[in-house]
Subunit: 335 residues, 2 copies
């Protein structure tokens, strides 16, 4: 089942979307938005699955679905907790500044509490304010959970995953060092993130959802050029069950919480950081990583941060080369 | 105007509460919970003020209001961002571990993004899991905002404050050092906080709301003994307008965001950390601070962290010694 929220008010208007993303149908009125479904998943999911089946058989009123009409599936959420499951990414960041990776980072997940009061739609522009802020994209996988009890095991956490999708976790690299030094996490350096137009249930992903990981290739394009072709199931040190259990160690997690994987990052065959797409490599899921590789190779970064006019595109295709979640495609616009 | 949410479902049931906290009346059905009011404040506030006036004149159906029936005014919120406005507190924490306070801390607010998916009611027990987690209270002032545009000035931020109340920002001191070392902020070390039964509009606070600060004495009792009598308007380096503007520097803030002052903390007349209540001082708003003073004075802390059976009480009285926001009174219970 694929779900989306059309732009409407503060919470959007929930629709069930056809597998090919061409059509959408309205759910019954007791489920006006996605949060209302997450609040009542046991009863709501079968109802929506029925709508999806009817939609697949043209047996329900439907309309064209346009990704540009989509708000974030949850335009505001009660939680956004973002992990750093691809430890390779963290190691690279540290190596670029000459710092060693603590051994604990391989078994104790890094995670930050992000702002969840606003998620941008997949085609919403990203506001550019100040070149010194160092605007970057971060392509990640996200899940939305149901209620998770405090102290949940990895298996309980996995069973509570309701939906899977993509996120562009917009970051302000120029503001991160000062906030990291304070130790209190990210406040100003993480403006609103953007969610994919559509989110899918784990069951509907079939073999692409295994062991708490999304199996596929994340396509990241910058201004129409390949920027990254990274595998989301490779080098993911902590699966989503482990990330959710980490968050639930000391408190319950309430339905509608969005959990992120952190920037997807793959090693190359030799265990190194690989090469940019322009040099035949599989590239990266954020500009920072490409700049780190440039720094390691040549002593200085050469790829600039995002600037007005740039277009970021993040997408994942199925075996027939159709988009799974719809594309995040955002232009950078001077504020 | 005083507002509360009675325990009911995931969002509580909104009621308007009389000034003396004895009675409550239901708002019109289009405002079933506090978030629906915050989403539509310009239209909703006058309607609710009308209910409050009718309640004051016995001109509307009403029922007894019991603080024990109150959920958190927002049992789940879209944002919880907690400052450290009482820099004295931060300086004490650092002094106890021999670290210097960076000069920037006096003009650049410390703030962390907290988990907002669950707020406990004022009489809900606090679960005790592991003595090594070092369970502590933190008595603070909070405000709930309307929509705040990105880049808002302090004045714009002040104008967007809808409600004022108290919070017990429960902290797990034993887990904080490791999370601080990671630099990604607090995830496991901050379980759900508890909000006061009632929140008040700034206008209804009269002289007690000035310059973006709550003027009053926060009474903190531990097991029926005075633990702290701290002035919320004293030594507050950053007022709420400054805290909100800090958060809004790089992104808008959506209605229903809860912003915290950080642990209230006063210097004594000599500029020092003062004395515990038991020794005639005005005490502290968290156990950590008392332990820090003990460490500075004697080399080691003597006050234990919270344990099952302990009762924490946080309250603020008006000039007639009536509770302004109702009392947070929570027992620690073994999980």
């Amino acid at each position: 089942m694929k779900l989306a929220s059309l732009k409407h008010g503060r919470d959007g208007r929930l629709v069930v979307v056809s597998d090919d993303l061409a059509w959408c149908a309205a759910p019954p009125p007791m489920y006006p938005n996605l949060q209302s479904v997450l609040d009542d998943w046991e009863r709501a999911a079968p109802v929506l699955e029925g709508v999806a089946l009817s939609l697949a058989h043209d047996a329900v009123p439907h309309a064209r679905f346009h990704e540009r009409d989509a708000a974030a599936p949850l335009p505001r959420a009660y939680q956004w907790a973002d992990g750093s499951a691809y430890v390779n990414h963290v190691e690279l960041v540290r190596r670029a500044r000459g710092a060693e990776l603590p051994a604990s980072f391989w078994h104790d997940p890094l995670m930050y509490q992000g702002g969840s009061d606003q998620f941008l739609g997949a085609r919403d522009p990203i506001a550019f304010h100040d070149p010194a802020w160092g605007l970057d994209l971060e392509a990640e996988v996200v899940v939305i959970t149901g209620d998770v009890p405090q102290g949940a095991t990895r298996e309980q956490a996995l069973a509570a995953i309701r939906l899977v999708g993509l996120v562009n976790d917009v970051s302000l690299r120029g503001l991160i060092p000062d906030e990291l030094a304070k130790g209190f996490g990210f406040v100003q350096s993480k403006p609103a993130s953007s969610l994919s137009p559509v989110m899918m249930t784990p069951a509907s992903l079939g073999d692409r959802w295994q062991d708490g990981k999304l199996h596929g290739t994340l396509n990241i394009d910058l201004n129409g050029q390949m920027f990254g072709r990274v595998a989301t199931h490779v080098d993911m040190t902590f699966d989503f069950g482990t990330l959710i259990a980490h968050l639930a160690k000391t408190r319950p997690i309430i339905a509608g919480s969005i959990i992120g994987s952190g920037t997807v990052s793959n090693r190359d065959a030799a265990g190194g950081p690989g090469w940019p797409c322009a040099q035949g490599g599989s590239g990266y899921a954020c500009i920072a990583e490409q700049r780190m590789v440039e720094t390691i190779l040549t002593g200085a970064p050469s790829t600039p941060w995002l600037a007005p006019g740039d277009v970021v595109r993040i997408d994942m295709l199925d075996d027939r080369h159709h988009s799974l979640f719809g594309a995040i495609e955002q232009q950078i616009v001077a504020a």
